[in-house]
């Protein structure tokens, strides 16, 4: 009987125009509300992970691998392998995740920006609407910045207008062609996105996955530091520190097992400004990556960071233990200590040595055993003070995805220019400070399809 009604129901309903309007998959929709676009940006597996810093991390001077480990890398890790020796052909036509992931995130932000632009919001909805727009602009700026650190040259204000930058995509239309902007246009766009985001974002966000004024100030400071605009960088760092300057006393940390930080997606470690972590690159796995001696040598006795971030094997080789993520993946987001270090560096470079060293000492106070004398003399000369600041920066920000961009900007200064050497199977590989290999090639597929100009190698 029931069946008969069902047939009847089916036949009658089939005639109504709504019959085919039912959604095929309930979990699928066409995003159109403010909440929908917030959900697009809250997709933290995309927006806050697989950060585009891997080529830089592999190419930097923070670690080495033995020839045996390098030879024994799985076949599929050839990009890692080639990047480690800054090879001529890095990708061997393989996929370049740093590029692809960043531009995928940029497409997401463009989808959100276009979508949110069409929404007429009520006054109650304004904060939500602004948060979506501000977050999208922030993420777009962040990704342009990260791509620029890998695939475009080092910023020099005098020549930036004639050097190639990166493709700047500001619309979601996937059929639009790809063109390279100039380096000046690239940095102008990064600053524009971040400045536009600032007034829209809350001071602090409800979770560390979402951007905030704090993270925008922090990133603005970082970009200006890279551009060697120390006054601006200092002012942004201070604005950020006004919002939040709390550090964790590392002497209070303890480990139940392997790691010192909780594995809770950045929810409870107070120093995290914006949670972001890097893809697990094979060459950077804890069993292969050996921390270089000159980095280990910087740690003074009583520095808790050596134990918290490294393990030592029987042969005295240091390996990486784990990061703010609470396990072995690399935290490469923004953090309060980075703000301290930027403030310190800018202050010293601007001649405010005492102020700069004070920032440094405030940070060190939370990193050393209290019985050790950790304080640095605030009356040092500017140049020695800068040495201290940069050493501290290397220690504190080790394996946080910043070393590559630091190498690039510091190499401009002969005092800090560094030659990186590697030895594999008896052959020595050297990366000179002024090497063109500080700019990674653009992925082969991009060149082939879009025809844009490849970087010199």
């Amino acid at each position: 009987m029931r069946t008969r009604y069902l047939i009847l129901l089916l036949l009658t309903s089939a005639c109504s125009p709504d019959f085919l309007e039912i959604k095929q998959d309930v979990s699928i929709g066409t995003p159109y509300t403010i909440q929908d676009f917030q959900a697009v940006l809250d997709h933290n597996i995309r927006m806050n992970s697989n950060a585009s810093v891997i080529l830089g991390m592999v190419g930097s001077d923070e670690f080495k691998v033995s020839s045996e480990s390098w030879n024994g890398l799985p076949t599929a890790s050839f990009v890692n392998k080639n990047a480690y020796v800054w090879a001529d052909d890095v990708y061997e036509r393989g996929t370049v995740d740093d590029w692809n992931d960043a531009y995928e995130r940029i497409l997401y932000t463009n989808m959100a920006l276009e979508g949110i632009g069409k929404i007429v919001f009520s006054p109650q909805e304004q904060p939500d609407w602004e948060n979506v727009k501000g977050s999208a602009l922030f993420f777009r700026g962040l990704n342009f910045y990260q791509v620029a650190q890998l695939f475009a040259g080092v910023y020099r204000s005098a020549t930036a207008h004639k050097e190639p930058g990166i493709p700047i995509r500001l619309e979601s239309d996937v059929t639009a062609s790809t063109v390279r902007s100039t380096l000046r246009q690239t940095y102008d766009r990064i600053l524009l996105d971040l400045n536009d985001a600032l007034p829209l974002l809350p001071d602090k966000s409800v979770n560390t996955m979402r951007p905030s004024k704090l993270s925008a100030f922090c990133l603005l400071a970082r970009v200006h530091l890279q551009m060697e605009m120390y006054e601006e960088a200092y002012s942004f760092a201070l604005k950020a520190l006004e919002i939040e300057d709390g550090l964790t006393d590392y002497t209070t940390l303890s480990s139940a097992g392997t790691y010192f930080f909780p594995r809770d997606n950045g929810a409870s470690h107070r120093e995290i400004v914006l949670f972001n972590y890097a893809k697990a690159a094979t060459i950077l796995t804890s069993s292969r990556l050996q921390v270089v001696d000159d980095l280990i040598a910087l740690y003074r006795p009583g520095d808790k960071r050596k134990d918290i971030f490294y393990t030592k094997n029987a042969q005295g080789v240091y390996f990486y233990r784990g990061s703010f993520t609470g396990y072995s993946t690399f935290f490469v987001g923004q953090s309060i200590p980075e703000l301290y270090l930027m403030a310190a560096e800018c202050a010293v470079r601007l001649g405010e040595v005492k102020e700069g060293i004070t920032w440094l000492n405030n940070l060190r106070a939370m990193r050393f055993d209290p019985q050790v004398d950790y304080e640095i003399d605030t009356n040092l000369g500017q140049s020695v003070a800068l040495d201290h600041v940069l050493d501290e920066r290397r220690i504190e920000l080790a394996f946080k995805g910043l070393r590559w961009e630091d190498l690039r900007r510091l190499n401009k200064d002969p005092r800090y220019a560094k030659e990186i050497k590697r030895e594999i199977n008896g052959r020595e590989y050297i990366l000179q400070p002024d090497s063109k290999r500080y700019v990674w090639p653009i992925p082969d597929l991009v060149i082939e399809i879009s025809g844009i100009e490849q970087n010199d190698r």
């Binding site: 089916l10 998959d25 997709h43």
Partner: protein, 1061 residues
């Protein structure tokens, strides 16, 4: 019926007015001596026709002498001259013994005599289906039909099959399966073959396009057994016991014996290739070498162990203990019967099938009941019900289950010692050194011993399917009938895994989550996992009105039109998980904190596995309107046409993109029925041609951007873009043309058909190759290509001997090839995309094309491949691969799917014994084999070809297998070396081969004996399948159907018994 007589009577009366010749007579079956009613008597010159009455009589008055022509399904056509001298004719018609051409085929919408439709059909009756006792219906079709290609040998699923080649590139390639008039969405294994009356393959547009948007890949119509209207109850029971040989897993060349693997591992150990950590699995032998180096194992002890390990052959042990011959039991009963008012068919069957992996298997129970009521002559109601219950048990351990990342299966690690005690094997991400110390660390035994594990768990999945269907058929006056069809299907499926407290699964969980202070987070008790249950149901409704011209005239018309609606939905629910489960009382615990990250051993931290937070509802709705028209004139000229409109609840498209109109047109001409046709020995000759358009649905494409919603790891709502929208998308269309010739000669001794067809898929949807800077690097769908498939199907049936010894033979041959005719996407200049198992489509070449790199041999200096650039040999791999090679220089070595295939089926009979065998053949294709590539040892990939590798200068003359890579030679472009060899022409071989597919022997017990048992018949059957390759073109000893398999499908023998009551 009455109306018919009325018309006949009227005609007779009117003719009488001009009466000059009165012809009357009676038509009967010569064999049975029974009158034939309803037979059409044609008078050729007068172009008049009359039907015989219930007693076979007819009467006609003509104005002049004429030719009387009789043609009736099942009988040899008859003609004679009639004139004044003819008075009462007694015509005895000879029954036609050739059955294949007389069948009615079922399109799912209507039945039509095969000879009277211009469409291309292949009909396989239950006799032929029952040649093979396979419990899967599709498997029984292999080698029986032209144009039906098994892309995967022994295929048991629609995706293993191609009907007449390809009509699409990236959309669903599966043919549509129709069961009792409705598309079947369930598991094909749920259809018990013993309930099936026939299978009809709809090959061309005229046959298939009534199925519209889903017919683009061909249609397989399965019809279950029906009650014949009037007959006493007939019962048939059958039982079948089959045995599958133990699979020979030593077939795979991807294996090296213990001694060689140990030598490689020793070398790697010496080179320092291994990382040592508690969470890194390293080969057992390397552990021993380390222990020796650390002084924990003396040289003497090591030598003793080495000697012992070298004698082990793990693969043979695995084959012996974990694989076994498998038993398949099938029992069934069918009952048919009925009177004029009521008829029924009832079948029940049981299947118990063991897997080749010991302790795997499945059981299937089925009950179907079908009733036909005819309360009044004009009304017929068909009501049916079918229930299937399937239970799959998955408790075995296969070879692949024992493989460990970066090690594979260690050939020197056996399953048991000489005393029969189970031995431990390695597991992923745990060093053996560590697990061996587990007890001393206060942990549970952490060893994995496969032989002990066989009985520590119970993994089952089950599915139940209920199908209820009804058809109401109302016959109205003037040849009109109305039909309402309805079908409901309901499916529930789920799975359950129980791990007992001693199982490795539980011990591993307990140990992993034992905290540094010794606290156990997971108690050592059973774990019960209830897999995500799913529920699916569908409603199908169809209303149609048909017309079948009732009058006796040279013009005959049948038409059907109607509409149908469909709703199909699947809902998946969250899974469930009980820890601390006590099997005896069935109690367990769900109170665990899945959000807490615990420290785990040996390293790191992790969350406890929780139930899957899945709830998913998928709903498909379709509305279709259809119409079909058939017309014939004098049973000689046939025309057919169909129209269909399909609309679906596609999401993210504009309303006018939801539907598509489709059509077909066809005609045939029965030349042998022409008066002028008077060629001796040609009984039947017909040509036919059809053309039409079917479609292909791709629900993954959208006009607007769409996103999938989920909950993130921090509990917020997430959206992932699934598509970014493409406003210019269209439906895929497949246009099919077919030209056929059917003939029967020498009084039915030889018959056959030859068909030429072409299939054009246009507006095909596929992924565009994107510039990743757009943000889309993998998935952007556009209508970018067209594909054309051409082919020839030939079937010849010969009754070579018809005497005491009968010999029938059926030859089937098909040729098929496809060509991508349009391909709009931006092309990659890199050759990598062509050197994969599914290369990018290329305009003007086959979709199945296999590309290879040219092979220039090995260097006599270092044993690595040469590459040749502009006639110069070198070893500049990167230069060669990245810059020199381009698409044009790639070798196009063949296609991966046979372009010629077919079968020869012979059946011999002598008295009550029948012997048949089926030979299948495939030709015109290539396959790529595996080999040992340089550097593979480092990936722990082992292959027999290791023994054939280049080892010293001169070897290059006899081998293509490159040298192994020593540490110091390791070039930066390591990736190139393996690609250059593995993707080279050196590893491509012809796939052509001939196979003895099966043999069957049947014996019907003598009638005298059977009657004494009060039975109608007893039949004994012996069957044997997978008898191996008779001939193959390749000289490398590989069965092309199993070029990369662990083993060749083992032989299967069965013994069956059928009894009719």
């Amino acid at each position: 019926m009455k109306i018919l007589f009325f018309i006949c009577g009227f005609m007779v009366l009117s003719m009488a007015l001009f009466a000059q010749v009165e012809i009357s007579g009676k038509v009967y079956d010569r064999n049975t001596q029974t009158p034939i009613a309803g037979l059409r008597v044609q008078f050729v010159k007068a172009q008049r026709m009359i039907g015989t009455d219930e007693k076979g009589y007819f009467k006609m008055t003509l104005q002049a002498a004429d030719t009387l022509y009789l043609d009736h399904i099942g009988y040899v056509p008859y003609h004679t001259v009639v004139d004044h001298n003819s008075r009462f004719l007694e015509i005895g018609l000879e029954a036609q013994t050739q059955s294949i051409d007389l069948v009615e085929v079922n399109t799912g919408y209507y039945r039509v005599a095969k000879e009277r439709s211009p469409g291309s059909f292949v009909h396989i009756d239950s006799m032929l289906l029952n040649r093979s006792p396979s419990p899967n219906i599709l498997q029984r079709l292999e080698g029986l039909a032209p144009g039906l290609q098994f892309v995967n040998a022994g295929g048991a699923d629609a995706q293993d099959i191609r009907i007449r080649g390809l009509g699409t590139i990236e959309s669903d390639e599966r043919p549509l399966i129709v069961l009792d008039g409705f598309p079947y969405e369930g598991d094909i294994n749920n259809i018990p073959p013993n309930t099936i009356e026939s299978v009809t393959l709809l090959m061309d547009a005229a046959a298939a396009s009534i199925w519209g948007a889903r017919a683009g890949n061909g249609v397989i119509v399965i019809t279950t057994k029906k009650n014949s209207r009037e007959q006493p109850i007939r019962i048939s029971v059958h039982t079948d016991a089959g045995i599958t040989d133990r699979p020979d897993i030593t077939y795979s060349p991807e294996w090296l014996p213990a001694e060689k693997v140990m030598a490689i591992e020793k070398q790697r150990y010496a080179l320092g290739h291994y990382n040592y950590a508690d969470n890194v699995t390293i080969p057992y032998y390397v552990e021993l070498l380390r222990a020796n180096a650390d002084g924990d194992l003396t040289d003497g002890e090591l030598a003793g162990l080495e000697h012992q390990l070298k004698s082990v052959n793990a693969r043979e042990e695995i084959m012996e203990h974990l694989y076994s011959p498998a038993l398949t039991l099938q029992h069934g009963i069918n009952m048919l019967g009925g009177s004029q008012r009521y008829g029924f068919s009832l079948s029940a069957s049981y299947l118990d099938q063991q897997g080749s992996v010991s302790r795997n298997g499945n059981k299937r129970y089925n009950l179907s009941f079908r009733n036909r009521f005819r309360p009044i002559t004009a009304l017929e109601i068909d009501l049916g019900l079918s229930y299937v219950n399937q239970q799959v048990r998955n408790n075995g351990i296969s070879y692949d289950d024992l493989s460990v990342v970066n090690i594979g299966v260690s050939p020197y690690m056996g399953l048991q010692d000489e005393n029969g005690r189970a031995l431990p094997l390695l597991r992923n991400a745990l060093s053996h050194n560590y697990t061996a110390r587990a007890l001393s660390l206060g942990l549970l035994d952490w060893e994995y011993r496969p032989l002990d594990e066989l009985r520590t768990g119970d993994n089952r999945s089950f599915s139940q399917e209920l199908r209820v269907y009804s058809t109401v058929n109302l016959t109205l006056p003037w040849g009109i009938y109305a039909k309402a069809d309805y079908q409901y299907t309901g499916d529930v499926a789920g799975s359950r895994s129980l791990y007992t407290k001693d199982s490795y699964y539980v011990r591993n969980m307990v140990n992993r989550f034992t905290q540094p202070n010794g606290t156990r987070i997971i108690p050592q008790n059973g774990i019960l996992y209830i897999g995500s249950p799913s529920e699916a149901f569908s409603h199908y409704g169809r209303m149609s009105v048909g017309f079948d011209s009732p009058w006796e005239s040279a013009h005959r018309l049948h038409a059907i039109g109607g509409f149908e609606v469909r709703h199909h939905q699947t809902e998946t629910f969250p899974s469930n998980l009980l820890y601390n489960y006590d099997e005896e009382y069935q109690i367990g615990d769900t109170r665990y904190n899945y959000n807490q990250s615990y420290t785990v051993r040996p390293l790191g931290n992790s969350f406890i596995t929780g139930p899957a937070a899945v709830h998913r509802l998928l709903r498909n709705r379709d509305v279709s309107y259809f119409g079909n028209l058939g017309y014939n004139y004098l049973q000689r000229y046939f025309l057919s046409g169909s129209l269909r409109y399909d609309a679906s609840n596609l999401f993210g498209v504009k309303t006018n993109q939801k539907g598509v109109p489709l059509w077909s047109l066809g005609g045939s001409w029965d030349i042998s029925r022409e008066r002028f046709f008077n060629v001796p020995n040609i009984d039947f000759l017909r040509i036919r041609a059809t053309y039409g358009i079917a479609g292909n649905v791709n629900k993954s494409v959208t006009h607007f951007p769409t996103a999938t919603y989920s909950t993130s790891n921090i509990g917020l709502r997430n959206a992932t873009y699934r598509t970014f929208g493409n406003p210019s998308l269209r439906w895929e269309k497949v246009a099919t043309e077919n030209l056929g010739l059917d003939f029967r000669v020498l009084n039915g001794r030889l018959s056959g058909s030859l068909e030429f067809y072409g299939k054009k898929g246009s507006d095909l949807i596929g992924n565009d190759l994107m510039d990743p800077t757009t943000g889309v690097s993998t998935d952007y769908k556009i209508n970018y290509a067209d594909i054309a498939t051409r082919g020839i199907d030939l079937q010849l049936t010969g009754r070579i001997l018809t005497g005491k010894v009968g010999w029938n033979t059926v030859w089937i041959g098909s040729q098929v090839s496809n060509k991508v005719t349009n391909y709009y996407t931006k092309d990659a200049t890199g050759i990598g995309v062509y050197l994969t198992d599914s290369p990018n489509p290329v305009k003007n070449s086959s979709r199945d094309l296999v590309y290879a790199l040219p092979w220039s041999g090995l260097s006599s200096e270092n044993g690595y491949p040469f590459v040749e650039m502009d006639g110069v040999k070198s070893q500049q791999y990167a230069e060669f691969y990245d810059r020199y090679m381009d698409f044009d220089k790639l070798l196009k070595v063949g296609v991966r799917v046979p372009t010629y295939y077919g079968s020869i089926r012979n059946t011999f009979d002598y008295k009550d014994i029948e012997l048949g065998f089926l030979i299948t053949w495939k030709a015109g294709y290539v396959f790529r084999r595996t080999s040992m590539y340089p550097g593979a040892e480092y990936a722990a990939y082992y292959h027999e070809d290791y023994d054939r590798r280049w080892q010293s200068p001169g070897d290059e003359r006899s081998t293509d297998v490159p040298a192994f890579i020593a540490k110091e030679d390791m070039p930066v472009g390591h990736n190139y070396l393996s690609t250059l060899y593995l993707q080279s022409e050196a590893l491509v071989s012809s796939g052509s081969h001939i196979r003895l597919h099966d043999i069957n022997i049947g014996y019907s017990l003598p009638a005298s004996l059977v009657h004494r048992l009060n039975m109608k018949g007893i039949r004994v059957k012996l069957y044997c399948r997978n008898l191996g390759v008779i001939w193959r073109e390749n000289k490398v000893g590989i069965d092309p159907d199993y070029a990369r398999s662990l083993y060749v499908e083992p032989r299967f023998y069965s013994f069956g018994l059928t009894g009719d009551f």
